[in-house]
Symmetry: C2
Subunit: 111 residues, 2 copies
DNA sequence: CAGTATCCGAACTGATACTG
DNA sequence: CAGTATCAGTTCGGATACTG
């Protein structure tokens, strides 16, 4: 058993899923690992995610310490999202996910 | 863009999430990688998953080619679940997930 | 620009009972 | 043993409109 922030998990995999599971978080980590991005840049990168879901996911990741939200007090507003060191610690997983795609569906990748 | 089984994905990570995302699939892959298991053994291993959800997840993984369902025609029934080679191809990801837990919450693991 | 608010249907999850 | 069936509650996800 693993205890983390007062919750119990059967195995490490379960905990990992809790932190980066869901439809969007792994992909957000992937993009943010390449480049710090502003809110609307993320919106444009992912035509399929709504602003609502994007805000929600980013907030959860910020709460969990994976993402740093930097707000510039200016008009028009400017907010930048980047990975914390903790967020970067998931990169081996994200890279493994990407590598899996390269290995197993490489023939179907179109640039 | 990646095309896989008539669906399009922005990046490999997105496709990986589609195949092994969700709350249970990664954990099921983890357990089945260690040992072929019968339905009720899985039920006992995961007190938090209901039979309904377990059936549903296993069916999806079978449909996607990750899991092999072997039914013995006998009474009482016996069904064994194991990983296909395709299912095993996700092991680098699952192992990375587990390793993350070992590295980052090791202090909180109780056997 | 970077979000909120509201509404709504779909999907997930759980409890319980039942079946070949 | 290995599931299904049913009901109900919660969360997810998307469309649209609005705000500081």
């Amino acid at each position: 058993m693993i205890t983390y922030r007062d919750k119990e998990y059967r195995c490490a995999v379960e905990l990992t899923i809790e932190l980066i599971g869901g439809k969007w978080k792994a992909i957000l980590l992937w993009e943010l690992s390449k480049k710090t991005l502003r809110f609307n840049e993320l919106v444009r990168l992912f035509p399929n995610i709504t602003r609502k879901m994007l805000t929600q996911q980013l907030k959860e990741m910020e709460r969990d310490g994976l993402v740093l939200r930097k707000e510039y007090n200016q008009i028009p507003p400017k907010v930048e999202y980047s990975l914390t060191n903790f967020g970067k610690s998931f990169m081996p997983i994200i890279l493994a996910m990407n590598q899996w795609g390269v290995d197993y569906v490489a023939g179907n990748i179109k640039e």
